[in-house]
């Protein structure tokens, strides 16, 4: 093997210099990476398949290492524009799930929940499913059957989920787990800008002078983005972090506002009041580009720092500091995530952040704007093409007659056949409890861990007469099903995802699926065929679905028409809207000062703060808040089986302040109005004394979501995960961490078993300091 000196050159020239960063389309290319014909390829006869990580909304580029036998066996960093070789521990270990011993390789079936699963043929599983769908719909109407999709699916598959529900199942009840992710931000962006996506690419972070991060533990949830954050700081940008915990990002912030959970809108209103009082608003921008400013200004005046400081539990001076830093910066950006979105006023919280950007004119410029950090890989793309209960492909409204007509034409159905809008994911579970929905198919989701108020979720699912699940591991939810279809991982099919920048990237197939495993596309098409809608689902592969999706989105705000697989492979990603095949895409919005509302203006919205839905009282005086840990992803169905990640964080904990008198590792019972569970205490000064934090990746009896409240934001219907009332007590014994369910005939991965018996993590989880000093 000969070394290619140019390979080294390419790596030393990583475009971290902001002037070389990719604010425009020129930067949208794979910046080289390791040539597949160099390095390992010569050494071991292996190939490197360029693709992206399957996990969060950053969508880091990576190569999967494939051996001579065609099996994925490793990962190699890829010099893609988004991540520039960087990967987090989840990304590095992701490949291990592809050929994991827990993979489901044959359909599982049982006729009642009293029976054990049996491995059956595909025909038997499909026939049983179709007969149950027909039985339930004939007896109780089409809407008695529901479909829940997932935002980790490729966009092609999410498009199919929406079409399958409306055309094959003919039900209005379809929704997806992105409902638990960033629909609040989506709702706010739609209200204010008429478009549902971040305004700026990640690379704009490098160009900003003031970066405000609200409710986002970037260090653990989007670790690769820290290079952009530090890059901005290297250039002297001010970093402001709003978070009740001192996270790794907050630790190095210039201003860390540790506000009380559930008080974000009061805080941001107050920041705006200071900006107004100090004459730091950009009146010329507001005159030319905004509506509603007078009302917003009047409302903000009701939140002087003295009042907001009481509500938020932070010093009034900090509010003034934040206002000055943000408004005085020549270019400022605000990025937020679930911390302000997972609330019963999640949409309003996001609107207050948008009001800040609009009032200061920090919109639509390099280094100035707003963004929302997507939790799931396709959290952005997953809702764009009809998987959400109220949306049709291209972000069209299912309530709009013109939009309905357009889609019916593409789908070849009568408008009368297209169902009305459905309900949200949590509401569907309540309907299952009430037996209004009696049958359900779940695709790529695990509500038993991810939905709040576990008891309600369990009751809802137990009440269904038929439940089928698509998954590649037997998730906690799949273990409740009657039929489980074994489907492909992200490495066994091709398709696109849209990341948090709305940059569409292409995932490539690295290996054939194991025998017995089918793609989600194949299963949906086959079910549709057996339901009599085969002619509408004659898709051979993802590419065929993508071509229909492109056409279906043409002319809408979410226009994918100009995006093709070939262009994605050449460019490394294209941001929508992209209406023509020679259009470069739209990485940054509103550069011409116009929004996507017909009047081209930002519609600023008045927000009144209201307390969280779960009231505090003497019995429940503290706030429980939840979040992620860097080693695990969402419900943990994928990551709780990977040895290295389990070893890193084998179990959840309850993070409490030293003032409560707990010793590190001691059992602490966290009690809410939904129930109580016992966790080892992680005693740290890095959290507010009135707040408890629990990571949510585990099932009962160590499930944060057995404790959280199923109150919803009235507009986005997102649950209020980030705050509920609780108390903490000393307990006798820590609850055992359950093993993930394993299908019959499979053996759980031994490495994970060993770690799971440990009462405490081998080290402090993710650098969360503990007060136990040795």
């Amino acid at each position: 093997m000969t070394a290619d000196p140019r390979a080294a050159d390419r790596r030393t020239a990583l475009p971290l210099d902001p002037s070389l960063a990719p604010p425009g389309t020129r930067g949208f290319r794979d910046a080289g990476g390791i040539p597949a014909d160099q390095w390992h390829a010569d050494q071991n006869g292996e190939t490197l398949v360029p693709t992206h990580c399957c996990f969060c909304g950053v969508q880091c580029g990576m190569y999967l290492r494939v051996d001579r036998g065609g099996k994925v066996f490793g990962v190699e960093p890829r010099n893609h524009d988004i991540n520039r070789m960087r990967l987090c521990p989840k990304g590095i270990n992701a490949y291990q799930q592809v050929n994991h011993p827990d993979r489901l390789t044959a359909p599982l079936m049982r006729r009642s929940r009293d029976e054990d699963f049996q491995e059956v043929s595909w025909d038997e599983a499909l026939d049983f499913t179709v007969s149950e769908i027909k039985r339930i719909q004939q007896a109780h109407g089409n809407d008695a059957f529901g479909l829940l999709g997932g935002a980790s699916l490729f966009s092609e598959k999410t498009y199919l989920v929406g079409k399958f529900a409306r055309v094959a199942l003919r039900t209005r009840h379809v929704d997806y787990n992105g409902r638990l992710c960033m629909v609040s931000a989506a709702g706010a962006n739609k209200l204010a800008f008429g478009i549902d996506r971040a305004g700026n690419p990640f690379s704009d972070i490098l160009l900003t002078d003031c970066l405000l991060i609200a409710g986002s533990n970037v260090g653990e949830c989007f670790p690769v983005l820290t290079q952009y954050v530090w890059g901005a700081r290297d250039r002297g940008a001010t970093l402001i972090v709003i978070d009740p915990r001192e996270t790794a990002i907050a630790r190095t912030a210039d201003i860390h506002v540790a506000l009380k959970p559930g008080t974000d809108s009061a805080f941001f209103n107050s920041v705006l009041s200071v900006i107004i009082a100090e004459g730091l608003t950009d009146e010329a921008y507001l005159d030319a580009h905004a509506t509603g400013w007078d009302e917003v200004r009047a409302k903000a005046a009701e939140y002087p720092p003295s009042r907001a400081a009481d509500i938020c539990g932070v010093p009034a001076e900090q509010i003034v500091q934040v206002a000055r830093a943000f408004a005085r910066a020549p270019k400022a950006m605000a990025w937020h995530a679930r911390g302000i979105e997972h609330h019963s006023q999640g949409v309003e919280n996001c609107l207050t952040v948008i009001n800040l950007c609009a009032a200061t004119g920090h919109i639509g410029k390099p280094g100035a704007g707003y963004g929302t950090l997507t939790g799931q890989g396709n959290g952005q793309g997953g809702r764009e093409h009809g998987q959400k209960s109220d949306l049709l492909p291209g972000g069209r409204s299912i309530l709009n007659e013109e939009h309905r007509r357009q889609i019916c034409e593409i789908w070849g159905i009568e408008e009368s056949e297209l169902p009305a809008a459905g309900t949200s994911m949590m509401e569907m579970v309540w309907q299952m409890q009430r037996r209004e929905i009696r049958g359900l198919i779940g695709i790529c989701n695990n509500p038993f861990v991810s939905l709040p108020n576990y008891r309600v979720v369990k009751e809802g699912y137990d009440a269904t007469e038929f439940h089928a699940q698509f998954d590649f591991f037997l998730s906690e939810t799949a273990a409740n099903a009657h039929v489980v279809f074994p489907v492909t991982t992200w490495a066994e099919d091709e398709g696109v995802m849209a990341n948090a920048e709305a940059r569409v990237v292409k995932h490539n197939k690295a290996q054939d699926p194991p025998p017995g495993v089918r793609t989600d596309t194949w299963v949906m098409c086959e079910l549709a065929r057996r339901l009599g809608a085969g002619d509408k689902f004659a898709f051979a592969d993802s590419r065929a679905v993508f071509d229909e999706l492109r056409t279906a989105s043409a002319g809408t705000v979410i226009d994918y028409y100009g995006i093709t697989y070939e262009r994605l492979e050449e460019t490394g990603g294209i941001a929508w809207p992209c209406p023509a095949t020679d259009h470069p895409g739209t990485p940054r919005l509103f550069e011409d000062g116009r929004t996507y509302h017909p009047d081209g203006r930002i519609h600023m919205q008045v927000v009144e703060w209201h307390p969280p839905m779960d009231p505090y009282d003497d019995e429940h005086p503290m706030s429980l808040t939840t979040g992620r840990t860097v080693a695990h992803f969402l419900s943990g169905n994928q990551t709780r089986r990977l040895g290295a990640l389990v070893e890193q964080t084998p179990r959840p904990w309850a993070e409490v302040h030293p003032s409560h008198g707990f010793r590190n590792g001691e059992p602490v019972r966290v009690v809410t109005r939904r129930g109580s569970e016992v966790f080892p205490a992680l005693v740290t000064e890095a959290i507010r004394p009135d707040t408890v934090f629990i990571p949510y990746h585990w099932p009962v009896p160590t499930s944060a979501n057995a404790l959280t409240i199923d109150a919803l934001d009235p507009r986005s219907k997102i649950p209020e995960y980030k705050v509920c009332a609780c108390r903490i007590e000393h307990a006798e014994k820590i609850d055992e961490v359950p093993s993930p369910p394993v299908a019959p005939g499979h053996v759980a991965y031994p490495e994970t078993q060993v770690s799971r018996t440990d009462p405490l993590p081998p080290t402090s989880p993710q650098g969360r300091g503990t007060s136990e000093r040795s």
């Binding site: 990967l87 260090g219 530090w230 860097v630 890095a686 402090s764 650098g767 007060s771």
Partner: protein, 200 residues
């Protein structure tokens, strides 16, 4: 001036352990990580710090110096290799000699293992796995000039004091610009013995 090497910036470390996972993927010791993470101010902060082999230059690699089997090779470019499997006797002298607590002994294999700066990658112009993937840049591989071009005003130290001993290393540490820069305390700093400043 130092050539291409690893620079550790504790101010950027988020404790994510991507370096630990990446090290495990490195072909030269696939399956085992040669990095560990330290939590420097437990209980009051989330601060963390990755520990990799510092590839000591002066005195030349204490681990190699004390090895009775001459199993630890120091290459001409200053990389302190992990023990030669045909020579290592698993005596753990190197573990005791290392001031940074880096080498590990696989007791079953009676073999020392440590970071070899991904010699299999760096020899071909690639960065070590840990520094390649480090999402925050807390581990940076390149020259000092490249580091400073990317992070204006950054200060680094490659000399550490352990009591009476000074150790100069091939791997450097980013230090706050407003703090004492030379040398950086490596262990518990002994400043004074019998009224005499032993640092100089």
């Amino acid at each position: 001036m130092m050539g291409r090497t690893i620079f550790i910036d504790p101010g950027r470390c988020i404790g994510c352990q991507a370096c630990v996972s990446a090290c495990r993927e490195c072909d030269s010791h696939r399956g085992k990580s040669m990095i560990h993470l330290d939590y420097t101010d437990e209980g009051s902060s989330v601060a963390s710090l990755p520990t990799v082999c510092m590839h000591c230059e002066d005195p030349v690699a204490p681990c190699a110096e004390v090895c009775p089997a001459d199993a630890i090779l120091v290459t001409a470019d200053g990389v302190v290799q992990q023990a030669d499997t045909t020579r290592c006797i698993g005596c753990a002298n190197c573990v005791n000699a290392c001031p940074f607590g880096v080498p590990k002994i696989d007791l079953q294999a009676k073999l020392q293992m440590k970071c070899n700066l991904c010699y299999d990658r760096t020899a071909y112009g690639l960065a070590p796995m840990c520094a390649t993937v480090c999402p925050t840049g807390a581990l940076f591989y390149g020259t000092l000039e490249e580091l400073q071009a990317e992070r204006p005003g950054v200060q680094v130290a490659d000399t550490f004091v352990f009591g009476e001993s000074e150790v100069r290393t091939g791997v450097a540490m980013v230090v706050p610009a407003d703090r004492v820069q030379w040398p950086v305390p490596g262990g518990l700093p002994v400043v004074e013995i019998n009224g005499k400043d032993v640092r100089r």
